[in-house]
């Protein structure tokens, strides 16, 4: 594993995350990817929203913005428009990016603007005390679904792919070696990249749903995740209760700020 401490603001530790939380594994994956790509930290912006995962921005040594709830992608869009040549990474949570920020997620994907969005999906609102989110599975217990969640849950990868993202991948915190590679490819993709990383919140989600042990939650990720190659050979019956991980979509397409740069070149000469 690469040394990621160069990219951490070590004086900001200890972090705020609970024991057993998987957010640190995802943050390491992001930093490993950036390190592998050898990006100059001065040319990287990390934008986050509000929630447990969004505290990440404060811990990493880049140009960092901790924005408002759900709106990280909008700030990131402004940054990318102003400085198209820079790398802009959004770190967000499932509630942040798919409930309050759902509209921004689909429209940034539609534009295929060159942002890399990494969603820490713990299937719950952790910071506010364990309310259900758009990715909480149906019938699961949360602080605001004490009798079982009635809502259907979102498949964020299918959502962003349908909306126009040119790169879509999913991993888990158990698959700690695969995640950095997927994020790395997402950053390399010149367009909208979406990487969902399934993570564990033992303190709220686990405790309310009979898996209060962090290691058990990691084992569940291991047992239920199926690589895309395997997934494609599985029957619908076999897919029940399982989910697909890996590179789910990768089709380069014209990128928004590049198209705008071309427009500027065209119009400036007039």
């Amino acid at each position: 594993m690469s040394d990621i401490t160069n990219h951490l603001r070590m004086d900001k530790f200890p972090h705020i995350w609970c024991p057993g939380c998987g957010n640190g594994i995802i943050l390491r994956s992001v930093l490993t990817a950036i390190d592998k790509l050898g990006l100059d930290p001065n040319n990287v912006a990390v934008v986050s929203g509000i929630g447990c995962s969004s505290r990440s921005a404060g811990y990493v040594d880049f140009n960092t913005v901790h924005t408002t709830h759900g709106r990280a992608i909008t700030f990131a869009t402004g940054i990318k428009m102003a400085k198209p040549e820079k790398t802009v990474i959004v770190l967000t949570g499932d509630g942040d990016c798919s409930a309050i920020g759902g509209n921004h997620l689909i429209h940034a994907a539609r534009r295929n603007i060159d942002l890399t969005v990494v969603v820490f999906n713990n299937s719950i609102y952790g910071m506010t005390g364990g309310q259900f989110s758009p990715t909480t599975p149906q019938n699961d217990i949360a602080a605001t679904s004490p009798y079982g969640n009635l809502d259907n849950s979102f498949d964020l990868c299918e959502l962003t792919r349908a909306a126009g993202a040119s790169y879509v991948a999913r991993s888990t915190t158990f698959h700690a070696t695969q995640t950095p590679l997927l994020i790395q490819k997402g950053i390399e993709n010149k367009g909208f990249s979406f990487i969902e990383v399934v993570t564990a919140c033992p303190v709220y989600y686990g405790r309310l749903n009979k898996t209060p042990d962090a290691v058990d939650m990691l084992k569940l990720q291991r047992d239920n995740a199926r690589n895309i190659k395997q997934w494609n050979m599985m029957t619908d019956e076999e897919k029940q209760g399982k989910f697909v991980i890996g590179e789910l979509y990768n089709k380069p397409a014209p990128e928004y700020t590049e198209k705008y740069t071309q427009l500027i070149e065209r119009e400036k000469s007039k």
Partner: protein, 371 residues
């Protein structure tokens, strides 16, 4: 150069002249001509326009672009202005310069989308949550719309805060001759010098309690943190009561200290007059005419906030009555009453039905006050 322009077109000209190179917006009547003008003109100047998915997103993108040092504008109206409020406060606490145009139409809710109103005055002052300062400018001619757009950007850059420009629908859509100077006065945000140690630089550090911090632009090698949480001089979150108190007071003080530069008030008081009419925006012409015909005084505001308390208090000691004419049910009147503190009587001419205020009801009110 003299041009015949619509108000919203004059705003576009002013923004471009002062160096605005980014616009993010969402279509809404009666502000849309600003977005249309920016969409057409920005790319030709190397700037960028983006139509976002809603007003919240537009305001977020504006702050994002400004973080990189690009002067950024958004424009909206009534309902869209409500949606922008959270991010207007973000720009205040994180000290990110930006300008928001809110073309005032009739509300609440969808209200009267194509009619003028001056009913967002208090939303402009208090719309975002928290105990924040606000700078709110309002033009009463198309020429002023151009000039105040320039002023709004200059104040936002100098003070590193969001500035709201609030014309009413009539000023936004009216066409008048505008004198556009070859060059406008341009103030750019202060940036740290190249000789500072970037690794130890504290972006929010100030020496005095009314100072504007010298915050670098993103990607200039400082790698600092920006947050909407209360933060210390390094830009990282804190809940320390003493730091929080210092921070919120300084945000107010920096605006207060620049009052003379921000203020916009013209007082025309004929000899021996007992009554003065105060107005702003498109109400100004009717108010001035009524005042002139009846030898009353006239006060025009082009800066609504910070409210000119001192000037209004002085005025109150010279006359008996101040009549506040506005297209709402009395929003600035309350500010005038507060400033006057009983020294003169304050009455309103208030029409909030989508129609302009003509000179007649103002003249009637002047006569009434003299009985």
């Amino acid at each position: 150069m003299s041009k015949f322009l619509q108000g919203n077109e004059a705003c576009v000209e002013g923004a471009l002249a002062v160096g605005c190179r980014f616009f993010a917006g969402y279509p809404i009547t009666p502000s849309t001509e600003i977005a249309e003008g920016m969409a057409k003109k920005l790319p030709r100047l190397g700037g960028r326009f983006i139509q976002m998915e809603d007003e919240i997103a537009s305001m977020g993108a504006v702050i994002g672009a400004s973080l990189c040092g690009t002067k950024a504008l958004t424009a909206t109206s009534g309902p869209g202005f409500s949606l922008k409020q959270e991010h207007i406060g973000y720009a205040v606490i994180a000290e990110i310069p930006c300008v928001i145009v809110n073309v005032m139409r009739g509300g609440p809710s969808t209200g009267l989308p194509t009619s003028p109103a001056q009913s967002d005055v208090m939303q402009a002052r208090w719309g975002t949550h928290g105990d924040h300062p606000a700078i709110v400018l309002t033009p009463s001619t198309v020429q002023e719309y151009f000039e105040l757009t320039v002023k709004a950007f200059n104040l936002s850059e100098k003070l590193r805060t969001s500035v709201i420009l609030a014309p009413d629908e009539v000023i936004a859509h009216m066409r008048e001759r505008v004198e556009i100077p070859d060059q406008v006065n341009i103030i750019n945000r202060k940036l740290p010098s190249n000789s500072v140690d970037k690794s130890t630089y504290k972006p929010y550090k100030v020496e005095k309690d009314d100072e504007v911090p010298v915050i670098p632009n993103f990607f200039d090698g400082f790698r600092f943190n920006v947050t909407g949480l209360y933060h210390d001089e390094t830009g990282f979150p804190t809940a320390s009561p003493s730091i929080v108190e210092k921070c919120i007071k300084r945000l107010h003080n920096k605006v207060g200290s620049a009052y003379e530069e921000i203020k916009g008030i013209e007082i025309d008081l004929p000899k021996d007059c007992d009554v003065a009419v105060l107005s702003y925006g498109s109400t100004f012409r009717s108010a001035r005419q009524a005042a002139r015909e009846l030898n009353a005084g006239h006060v025009k505001l082009t800066t609504l906030f910070p409210f000119p308390e001192k000037e209004i208090r002085e005025l109150a000691s010279k006359i008996k009555t101040i009549i506040v004419a506005e297209m709402n049910l009395g929003q600035i009147r309350l500010e005038v009453e507060r400033a006057v503190a009983g020294k003169a009587s304050v009455v309103g001419v208030n029409i909030a039905n989508g129609l302009l205020i003509s000179p007649d009801p103002i003249k009637e009110k002047i006569k009434e006050c003299r009985i």
